[in-house]
């Protein structure tokens, strides 16, 4: 249940991390949700003095005894040191079935959504026996360049999303709710002042001089990670400070190949669900809620 444990679980899951239904009018479209974002950082690991990979364990603050997951509960602090316990089952029952469907309520021009709202990207892959309704929704969203807007509850959190289509694939961006966004007034930005026209004209000239038709992906490279990896490879070649563990590919530590997993879900579906999809669904249903959970950081030695 602590956050770190959950994250490891998420990284290792081969199937969709959530399965559900899009409601388009009265049409139901079963889909699996896959993240479109991954970490660009070089995977880091805590090592002990002799180079042994370390694991995180949880202990009682009172007795210092190691705690198995079943001896840990989730609590909300209503006042100092007073907690209300909340179980997975309660959180589940607070989300009625219909709130878990992605019910497309509005279709908007995607360019009209202020970018301040966008948070994370996901792909939706078709599930179930028929891809007919999925392909129809994708075709129509692509043709009209519209985004379907919906809210739905997934694993202990409600999301506001915009569903669009690209290359025949449905994608979803999670968005912030309005009360999660501050206004200039909330921040206390000063009153607008009218700038002298010549100042504005000067900036217009600068903009026109440096105008460019589009964003280039070359500008979006993560140089820090690239440099870190270069240094890691150099030291590896010199056989300096290299630690070989007995972890295998596909274990919790091996980052999954997101593109390969997605490809598998999107192509060659002959009416039969791939095994990982079913397993993923069941797994997701059993998995604890991914709520922001804090573990006391005070180390007791």
């Amino acid at each position: 249940m602590p956050e770190d444990v959950d994250n490891v679980e998420k990284e290792s899951s081969p199937g969709p991390f959530w399965s559900g239904t899009i409601s388009f009018g009265l049409v139901s479209i079963p889909v699996g949700l896959f993240p479109a974002n991954r970490s660009s950082r070089v995977h880091a690991r805590a090592l002990g003095p002799e180079g042994v990979p370390l694991g995180r364990r949880y202990y009682s603050s009172k007795t210092d005894r190691e705690l198995p997951p079943k001896e840990m509960v989730r609590g909300y602090e209503i006042e100092k040191d007073r907690y209300v316990l909340v179980t997975d089952e309660e959180l589940d029952r607070l989300a009625p079935k219909k709130s878990r469907d992605i019910d497309l309520r509005q279709f908007v021009d995607v360019n009209q959504i202020p970018p301040i709202y966008f948070e994370r990207g996901y792909f939706l892959a078709p599930e179930g026996d028929s891809t007919k309704a999925y392909l129809l929704l994708a075709a129509i969203l692509e043709k009209t360049q519209r985004a379907g807007i919906a809210t739905f509850v997934m694993r202990g959190k409600e999301y506001l999303i915009a569903i669009t289509a690209e290359n025949g694939i449905l994608r979803a961006e999670t968005m912030r709710f309005m009360d999660e966004i501050r206004s200039p007034g909330d921040i206390g930005l000063p009153e607008k002042v009218k700038a002298p026209a010549e100042r504005t004209r000067h900036f217009i000239q600068i903009i026109q001089k440096h105008a460019s038709p589009e964003l280039s992906q070359n500008e979006l490279r993560d140089e820090t990670s690239a440099e870190l990896l270069k240094l890691v490879r150099q030291k590896q070649r010199r056989k300096q400070d290299v630690v070989v563990t007995n972890e295998k590919e596909g274990s919790n530590e091996g980052a999954p190949d997101l593109v390969a997993i997605l490809k598998q879900s999107l192509e060659g579906r002959t009416g039969q669900r791939p095994k990982h999809s079913l397993a993923g669904t069941r797994h997701a249903a059993r998995r604890p809620h991914r709520l922001r959970t804090h573990v006391a950081k005070r180390a007791r030695r």
Partner: protein, 264 residues
């Protein structure tokens, strides 16, 4: 209460420099839980442990290993790590300006409002006006607290916003993926789907959507905290749908009926 600036810098473009202060444009509203020990209801402690011996390793003895290949890590000293970090700077370099609808929504990450520095608020508002006039946003690069960022500089309601963008390595694009397999929809289905999309067409109105789940969980916690036993709803299954064309037809009818009711 006015928010506190998280950083100060200058937007640099051509020979111009505009001093600004950064403020987070988002407010964290998530419900934060703590992990407690069941029997004592005290917060738990966590330690890094050598899994072979069960021994706890104090944090000052922990080293960082970076993955070179599966199962192989290379240790880096804090000095070596420092080498890979960029030089600190107060300059937000604006490299060029692209049409404001050119940046795909998949790149946007965290938004910050920029405030003018008292020393030169004229340039700030002139730049905001110029960006709105040209309908463009600037591509920005900067280093903030030893971290490199790329972002988009936009004007919104007369104020400047700097939205960080995700790195290319962090994003899987739809173009890297195969089109889903299956029969293409026929003309009749397409036409009806388009009608349904048209009937539900709207302006983006974020105020129409509330995080109702968050509100329900908070209410539940409050009730439980004051000693009540709140009743929970019973979960029900939804019905199966009919054929695609029938469902579309019924949907369009339903939307139209509700529209007519609203008008009447």
């Amino acid at each position: 209460m006015p928010a506190r600036a998280i950083w100060k810098g200058s937007l640099v473009m051509g020979s111009e420099s505009v001093p600004v202060k950064l403020y987070s444009a988002v407010e964290d509203r998530s419900i934060h839980f703590h992990v407690l020990e069941k029997s004592t209801l005290m917060r738990i402690a966590q330690h890094m442990v050598n899994p072979e011996t069960g021994e706890q390793v104090p944090s000052d003895q922990i080293q960082k290993g970076f993955k070179a290949e599966p199962g192989v890590y290379v240790r880096l000293t804090p000095e070596e790590l420092e080498q890979t970090l960029p030089e600190d700077s107060r300059q937000i370099e604006i490299t060029r300006f692209v049409p404001s609808d050119n940046i795909h929504q998949q790149w946007y990450d965290r938004p910050y409002y920029l405030a003018p520095d008292e020393s030169d608020s004229e340039s700030y508002f002139a730049l905001a006006e110029a960006l709105e006039h040209e309908k463009r946003e600037g591509v920005a690069r900067w280093v903030m607290r030893k971290k490199r960022y790329v972002g988009a500089l936009r004007a919104e309601g007369g104020y400047l916003l700097l939205i960080t963008m995700k790195f290319a390595e962090e994003v899987v694009s739809a173009s890297e993926l195969p089109r889903p397999a299956g029969r293409a929809p026929d003309a009749k289905e397409l036409q009806m789907a388009e009608q349904l999309v048209g009937a539900l067409q709207a302006e983006f109105r974020p105020a129409d959507f509330r995080d109702e789940y968050r509100e329900r969980v908070m209410k539940f916690i409050e009730a439980k905290g004051s000693g009540h036993k709140p009743r929970l709803e019973v979960v029900t299954r939804r019905r199966e749908s009919k054929s695609l064309v029938d469902s579309l037809a019924a949907s369009i009818k339903k939307v139209r009926e509700s529209r007519e009711k609203r008008v009447a």
